[in-house]
Symmetry: C2
Subunit: 145 residues, 2 copies
């Protein structure tokens, strides 16, 4: 095996400052990290239940309620009872929600591009490709079994 630092160590070491760099950008948009993750998740596709949303972003389902309340109140998401099952709440982004999301994400990725600029072009492409491959896996697949 090639001698290398632990994957987890390197990734955690990157994760912390990247998040620290995100937070100010999010705060400018009035978003917390959880709120931002909600917007990202809903942007990909609307969800039928809040539990599914919580699961998708790895949050506790009882803990995101406050964030959803806030996002709804600010008109960034829609949360309407499912007419076919009124226990569930249909969740989706509003136009304004998408606008805020886009704006926040642009700011974040601008910072990230500066970091990626440190990599040679080919490595950078392979790096992003690999990250996308791995990040698309379910947590169980990442752990291995």
């Amino acid at each position: 095996m090639t001698d290398r630092p632990d994957l987890a160590a390197m990734i955690s070491r990157l994760s912390r400052p990247l998040i620290d760099a995100e937070l100010p950008v999010l705060r400018e948009h009035g978003l917390s990290m959880w709120a931002y993750m909600v917007l990202l998740a809903l942007d990909e596709r609307p969800l039928r239940t809040q539990a599914a949303l919580a699961e998708a972003i790895g949050a506790d389902k009882t803990r995101i309620i406050g964030f959803l309340d806030d996002l709804q109140q600010r008109g960034l998401i829609d949360r309407t009872p499912d007419p076919t099952d009124r226990r569930a709440r249909l969740l989706s982004l509003t136009a304004e929600g998408r606008r805020v999301r886009d704006s926040a994400q642009a700011g974040i990725q601008r910072k990230e591009e500066r970091l990626l600029g440190r990599l040679p072009e080919e490595d950078r492409r392979a790096f992003l490709r690999s990250l996308q491959t791995l990040a698309a896996l379910s947590p169980e697949e990442i752990v291995g079994e």
Copy 2:
């Protein structure tokens, strides 16, 4: 700009399960995450102060003391007053500490190799190379001042 998920989002998404996979291995060796990080940091080179150690692993200097106490008591690290400045404690790994570290790290990297096996060989090399490049940066360099 290429359309992609946020770096931070992908990396955080990987980070959590990787750490979850580490913890059981560490527990088998009687190590907490902080304790393991201490062993890793000291393996690279002994340190002259505990504050420097805390800084190196991104921990609070007042919070690692308990972990150091424990590691020392179990004979995994040496912590002796610096004869040239008796305020400071010289920190280094013992032989047993290195043995435990090696064993834990082997277990961790074995799991990680299974994950890396999902990447094509060239991407995998570029991925690791890139990670090492980026993880070697200081937090300030990662954020981008």
